[in-house]
Symmetry: C2
Subunit: 192 residues, 2 copies
């Protein structure tokens, strides 16, 4: 009994190590540098060990994405709960979202740019993802305006943030004007 429990603990610890190492490597050198060989070397096991935890590289990306979703939901809730008034809440939410994307580019990629094999926008979407969307909905729903479905409004606002985040990071938008863009977005979209 106890022996088996210890083994399960160690196995779970190794799985966390894999995910944490993949994330770290991706943040340091980009996801292209996260090869199964390099990852195996860093955790000091051979390649096939990775495949005893995950079906493949995709699932590892997916695991990082879920971790990121949980963190992002937490960051968003922390920021919005510290602000009072719907308007300041939405501004704080937008800033926090963009800052999260800018500070954790690899995690953001895992969540939204890469294929992590996760389901989206349907019933078997993993809980962390649903929860991250819920965190957005909580603050954005209250400024949707009359006659506008909160979920629809959240989708549009989220899409705008996502566009700003990705285009900025890819060099398609000059990074220095982020703040006025956020202000414009909140000004126009949020029905205070």
């Amino acid at each position: 009994m106890s022996v088996q429990e210890r083994k399960e603990r160690e196995r779970a610890a190794r799985e966390r190590l894999i995910v944490a190492t993949a994330r770290e490597l991706a943040e340091q050198q980009g996801w292209d540098a996260v090869t199964t060989r390099r990852l195996a070397e860093r955790i000091e096991y051979s390649q096939p060990v990775l495949y005893s935890h995950f079906r493949g590289k995709r699932e590892i990306i997916g695991a990082v994405a879920l971790e990121g979703a949980t963190e992002m939901a937490g960051a968003l809730r922390a920021a919005t709960s510290a602000a009072d008034g719907p308007r300041t809440r939405v501004t704080a939410l937008a800033r926090t979202y963009l800052e999260f994307a800018a500070r954790n580019p690899a995690v953001y990629d895992a969540m939204f740019e890469l294929d992590g094999g996760l389901a989206f926008a349907n019933e078997d979407t993993p809980q962390p993802l649903k929860d991250a969307f819920a965190a957005l909905l909580e603050s954005l729903g209250e400024v949707a305006g009359d006659g506008v479905h909160p979920a629809l409004f959240t989708e549009v606002f989220w899409a705008a943030l996502h566009g700003l985040a990705t285009l900025t990071r890819a060099g398609r938008l000059p990074p220095q004007d982020t703040e006025p863009r956020v202000e414009l977005l909140v000004d126009r979209l949020a029905m205070v």
Copy 2:
């Protein structure tokens, strides 16, 4: 003289063939399926020929992106010039943008999701890209509203469209509500 001219013509034709084939293959089976071997086989030349035209796969993606930018600019201008009144123009622009992204996913990826080795948002940005942004600016600038810089407004509106396009295509947003999202976006952002 004439011999050399013929050769140059043939060379240019082959280059166009490469780009067109890459695009076709990408639209049919996705960019992952566009390998140098497959591409070489389809144009009925050996792999190294590709490298006498392009520095590498990245540059081929870049060439498709430029072609796409020209087409998109044309589509946007056609749609907006057929509409009268700033408001309907912006709506037409938004619909056309999203439709272009949905109907040419591989080209859209080449332009905005993949690394085509192109410069953005600075002085040595290729002309087709500048022109596509200009096409956006022409219609969006007139609804920026007082005291809002047209370019800034265009960036934000574009980012929103880009977010909608990519999130929808990646399955992050359910595709059926595209139209109400567009209406909401135009309603709120455009100062009629």
